[in-house]
């Protein structure tokens, strides 16, 4: 089911995707994650504290981005290590929502340990929203 170490080489690109985020996405994530900070769903509150608009939970973007890795490796349980920096908030306008483009590339493979490190990029309107986004997967 999961990828074998023989199938993975440094430089390999993972199938990317566009994650479309609307206010409904954020309300659903707020409920599921218990992160109910109103900057993620109340535009009046968000702008009152100096934000341009409602912004997506950084943790939502982090979670949505790693799906690229889970689906590629074939088992979400193989993501053994995952870290990101939140470099820029994703504003989510009421009318259009926001699109985050996610791509991934294999940075290195440790054949002895049967592990690979994937670097993810996530951009919104051409600007990076995650930095140093690295996921380590355990391979067969």
């Amino acid at each position: 089911m999961a990828l074998s170490v023989a199938d993975v080489q440094a430089g390999q690109e993972l199938p990317g995707r566009t994650v479309h985020i609307t206010r409904a996405t954020l309300v659903q994530y707020a409920g599921a994650s218990l992160d109910r900070n109103p900057i993620h769903w109340d535009e009046r509150f968000a702008t009152s504290v100096g934000l341009p608009d409602v912004i997506a939970h950084g943790m939502f973007t982090m979670a949505a981005a790693v799906n690229v890795v889970s689906d590629w490796v074939g088992d979400a349980g193989r993501v053994v290590d995952y870290g990101v920096r939140f470099t820029r908030p994703v504003a989510v306008p009421h009318d259009t929502g926001a699109d985050v483009e996610v791509a991934g590339v294999v940075k290195s493979v440790d054949e002895a340990a049967k592990r690979a490190t994937v670097e993810l990029t996530a951009t919104c309107n051409g600007e990076k929203v995650l930095g140093r986004a690295l996921a380590v997967v355990a391979l067969d």
């Binding site: 659903q28 943790m59 799906n67 979400a76 349980g77 053994v80 995952y82």
Partner: protein, 148 residues
């Protein structure tokens, strides 16, 4: 500085157990668009060698943030939550969080530092089952924006 620097090195006692449920995992997986059936189909999860459905890789934040709250609401820490921004997050999974786990978290304040007028606090939550099996180390850096 917008946070008490003497908090570096402090540890908070383990939180009350969080009972990981199948339906919460399903709800979280749906909310983040995680479509791997390992999150929703117990038979599929068992076929892959897990005891039951497993949580998506970032689910641990739900438990870890409850632990972090101890620091954020600690009046001695002096953190103004309205100025807090999430700067960095990492998870090191010792094994996947699985439905049926009872998870407790022990919060460690690893570093408190200042840069560019902002304070940065890095916390580490060690998540383990009530039986003492380590499941995840969640490391978080929050930025407390400096005032004018």
């Amino acid at each position: 500085m917008a946070v008490n620097a003497s908090f570096a090195g402090r540890t908070y006692p383990a939180t009350a157990p969080y009972a990981v449920g199948r339906e919460k995992i399903r709800e979280f997986a749906e909310a983040v668009g995680a479509v791997d059936p390992v999150h929703t189909d117990a038979e599929e999860a068992r076929a892959r060698g897990y005891r039951d459905v497993i949580a998506p890789p970032t689910f641990a934040v739900l438990i870890a943030q409850q632990c972090d709250r101890q620091l954020i609401v600690d009046p001695e820490a002096g953190i103004d939550f309205s100025r807090v921004v999430h700067g960095e997050q990492k998870f090191a999974h010792h094994r996947p969080i699985t439905a049926g786990d009872e998870v407790v978290g022990e919060l460690h304040v690893d570093t408190v530092r200042e840069a560019g007028g902002h304070a940065m606090v890095t916390t580490r939550t060690e998540l383990s089952t009530t039986e003492g099996e380590r499941v995840c180390t969640a490391t978080s850096t929050i930025v407390i924006r400096g005032g004018e």
